[in-house]
């Protein structure tokens, strides 16, 4: 876990124009970013993605299929890579479609280098945040799994807004028992208050069992 956060960010470039690939590679290198370039989308798919933050600079016109279609394909494959589109002749419908599908930026060639670098930084930041969120969620889930089944039942009802007496009635136990389970669970989950507990329950997607 600590390795992944320390991993170098990588910028992927897919463009069929070799000359532009070389220039982009050089540009990203000049600002110290690690870069990998591909002439076609299929080549990119063969690569193993690194654990560190990364983003994709994608030409709209790709050999074989369009960049927009490729964006959809990636989303379907659950690969949430921030994408910056570059195009030789962008038009408004195309850029709208790209942005709706979650693109970071849509740049028209020739673009200002700072715009591209800003967009790439933003993409990397997004990816980094996403990765961190994913990591803390996994952490919470592990903690939740460490609760006893009875503690999990109690927590689910607490987060649904039931009072201790009601929970005791539903579960058929004494109110004092509920209080003990609740205290143990809050400690294990690291919740300092009831509000904190409810936030955690929402993150975990808990809901009241019927």
């Amino acid at each position: 876990m600590s390795d992944s956060s320390a991993a170098q960010p990588v910028v992927f470039v897919i463009d069929d124009d070799a000359s532009l690939r070389a220039s982009l590679s050089d540009l990203f290198a000049s600002v110290g970013l690690q870069v990998e370039t591909f002439g076609a989308a299929v080549d990119f798919l063969r690569t193993r993605l690194p654990d560190g933050p990364s983003c994709l600079v994608l030409d709209v016109r790709l050999p074989g299929l369009s960049g927009l279609d490729f964006q959809a394909d990636l989303a379907k494959a659950n690969m949430h890579l921030p994408i910056i589109f570059i195009t030789g002749h962008g038009d408004i419908p195309m850029s709208v479609r790209a942005m709706k599908a979650g693109a970071v930026e849509f740049l028209t060639k020739p673009f200002r280098d700072q715009d591209l670098l800003d967009a790439v930084q933003r993409g990397l930041e997004l990816d980094r945040t996403r990765r961190e969120q994913q990591k803390s969620l996994a952490d919470l889930r592990a903690r939740f799994e460490s609760l006893t089944p009875r503690e999990q039942e109690v927590i689910a009802r607490v987060s649904a807004g039931l009072m201790n007496k009601q929970i005791a009635g539903e579960l058929g136990v004494a109110e004092i028992t509920v209080k003990v389970h609740r205290g143990n669970a809050m400690r294990k989950l690291g919740a300092k208050s009831l509000a904190d507990l409810i936030r955690i329950a929402q993150m975990l997607g808990l809901h009241r069992p019927h």
Binding site: S19, S23, L27, G64, G88, H89, F111, R112, D113
Partner: protein, 622 residues
């Protein structure tokens, strides 16, 4: 069969049938008139024969009354015998009078050779008279006048043929009876017995003459008959009456001294009768001649009328031909000229209120509408061409922009990268050098693209000249190279061994090829399960032609749509206007070629167009 005849032939047939239908009754009319005329002529001939007979009577009676000398008598008889022989030779055959003429001749010769000294000539005279009368009756029997509606000629001839010879015969018989009895034995019984019957016969004949001539007068409308013969008939009847009157008075008691007076009265009656005969005969001839003239006139009038009607019918046929057939022929000529030349400004010229005139007017109106429709169509087509040209220009501009943007983006990026390398605390000059080299090469690349585009548009858009079609195809394929590559389409260009030159406008033909290849690319965009292949063939087609074939392995065209795919606004693309192929066709048409489409085997579609080969002869003309 009649339906397929030319209208002028139909008219001719109609006119001919009409003329025949006029001609047949006309022939009947002429025939009828000719028969009537023939009848009348025959009567004339008979009348002439009767004139001879009358001369015979005159001669016989002159021989009876006073015989000057044997020589004179013989000469007189010879003369009439000769006249009779001539007449008989001329016309006897028609009346079959040969035997009776011979009998008359024999009687006359007998009369001529009879001894004049004897003074007893009565029986031979009577015999000759009887024979002559028989001859006259035969001629009269052959007359057709009884069938004639003209009563005047009928009655006159009856008088001439029957009554007057009989009258003369009876007069002679009476005179003979009288003389015989006066000289032999006055107041004899025989005379007393014979006289009253003879007198009654004579009076009866005279009454018949009177009655007949009155009937003839009634039948003679203009009264000319009465004027011509009335006096003579009256004189004859008076003299006969006075002869009979004297005889009647004398029959109870007369003596021989009165014989001379009786002879004179008899002679007078005979002379008057002969005279009346001559006059009547002349009148008969005149009437017959007038009838012939009338018949001739009526026939001429009838023929003239028929001729006039026939002429009018021919005139009407000619007019019909002029006002129906000729306008129709002109209409047909204009129609076929319009069909051949497509010149809708032509008009048929025929102004009339009839059906032909209305058809001509309707035809001209139709041509007006056709011309207007054609003008609209031409305008629409040129508008389409303009729109399509703009669309194609827009597409080409976008394509060019993309092609130029690519190296520009690389240049800008490389420049920026170089600047950043320079900005480092320790500038990496090697990196800067590399960046600048890329800038230079991409700059050159951009310049090449611009140069290619300029070369493409350098020629005047309307100018036509000889083009090497294979090179043109290669240029267009090169222009679309990046697009073809990005769609992963393999290109197969086949050029025939010969250098094939055509005459045409470079830009227009480039647009045609651009259009067809772009369509092929669009058609193959959705293809994933088979190779995307574009095959372009340039080959010598039919003599004098070059064929260019563009074949793809795309989704193809619905066969039902194939016939209309070149029509404006027919498209298989969701966003297309359906103008590209319409413009292709009009361009190829304008170049004198043809464009067609067929299905690919097993996939895709095949577009083929032809262009006329540029020959060295054209070079010489230039």
């Amino acid at each position: 069969m009649f339906r397929n005849l030319r209208t002028s032939t139909k008219l001719l047939v109609l006119c001919s049938v009409f003329l025949v239908s006029i001609g047949v009754p006309a022939y009947g009319l002429v025939l009828e008139k000719l028969i009537a005329i023939d009848f009348a002529r025959k009567e004339l001939v008979g009348s002439r024969y009767l004139a001879t007979v009358r001369e015979i009577y005159a001669a016989i009676l002159s021989a009876e009354s006073g015989i000057p000398s044997a020589e004179l008598l013989r000469a007189s008889m010879d003369r009439v015998v000769q006249a009779l022989a001539d007449t008989e030779a001329g016309t006897g055959r028609a009346f079959e009078t040969a035997d009776r003429a011979q009998a008359v001749t024999a009687a006359l010769r007998n009369l001529g050779t009879h001894d004049a000294e004897d003074g007893r000539m009565r029986p031979p005279v009577l015999d000759a008279l009887a024979k002559a009368r028989a001859l006259a009756v035969r001629i009269g029997d052959d007359s057709n006048l009884a069938l004639d509606p003209d009563l005047d000629t009928y009655y006159v001839q009856d008088i001439v043929v029957r009554k007057l010879p009989t009258l003369l015969g009876r007069l002679s018989e009476l005179q003979e009876l009288f003389k015989t009895h006066v000289e032999a034995e006055p107041r004899s019984h025989a005379f007393g017995a014979h006289y009253p019957s003879l007198e009654r016969l004579l009076r009866s004949i005279a009454d018949d003459v009177k009655h007949n001539i009155e009937a003839g007068y009634r039948g003679n409308a203009d009264g000319s008959l009465r004027r011509a013969v009335d006096a003579e008939i009256a004189a004859m009847l008076t003299s006969v009456e006075s002869y009979l009157g004297v005889l009647g008075v004398s029959s109870v008691g007369f003596d021989a001294r009165d014989a001379v007076a009786y002879d004179r009265l008899h002679e007078s009656a005979a002379r008057q009768t002969i005279h009346a005969w001559a006059v009547l005969q002349a009148e008969l001839d005149r009437l017959l001649q007038r009838r012939i003239d009338g018949l001739n006139a009526r026939m001429a009038l009838g023929l003239a009328l028929i001729g006039a009607f026939a002429g009018i019918s021919i005139l009407i046929a000619v007019l019909t031909h002029r006002h129906i057939v000729r306008p129709l022929e002109r209409l047909e000529a204009v129609a076929s000229t319009v069909r051949e030349t497509k010149d809708y400004s032509l008009r048929a010229t025929y102004s009339s209120q009839d059906e032909i005139g209305r058809v001509t007017a309707a035809f001209n109106d139709m041509l007006d509408e056709l011309a207007a429709a054609r003008a609209r169509e031409t305008a629409e087509r040129s508008e389409l061409a303009r729109v399509s040209r703009l669309t194609t220009m827009g597409e080409m501009a976008a394509s060019i922009a993309h092609e130029v943007n690519q190296p520009l983006a690389a240049i800008v990026t490389s420049g920026n990268a170089g600047l950043r390398w320079l900005a480092h605390a320790t500038p990496d000059l090697n990196k800067v050098h590399n960046a600048l080299q890329r800038v230079v090469s991409d700059g050159l690349r951009a310049s090449e693209i611009i140069g290619g585009v300029r070369a493409m548009f350098k020629k005047d858009a309307q100018e036509r000249g000889p083009l090497e079609i294979g090179d043109l195809v290669e240029d267009v394929v090169a222009l679309l190279h990046s697009e073809l590559r990005s769609e992963e389409i393999s290109v197969q260009l086949e050029r025939g061994g010969d250098v094939l030159a055509v005459v045409g406008n470079r830009v227009q033909l480039q647009q045609v090829l651009l259009n067809l290849i772009t369509n092929a690319i669009d058609g193959m965009r959705s293809v994933r399960d088979r190779p995307r292949r574009l095959r372009i063939q340039v080959s010598a087609g039919a003599p004098g032609q070059v064929a260019i074939r563009v074949e793809d392995t795309g989704s193809g065209i619905d066969p039902q749509l194939r016939d209309r795919i070149f029509d404006p606004f027919v498209t298989t693309k969701s966003g297309g206007m359906g103008l590209g192929l319409a413009i292709c066709r009009s361009t190829i048409d304008a170049h004198g070629g043809q464009v067609s489409v067929s299905g690919g085997n097993p996939h895709g579609s095949v577009f083929q167009f032809t262009l006329p080969v540029w020959t060295s002869a054209e070079r010489d003309v230039r």
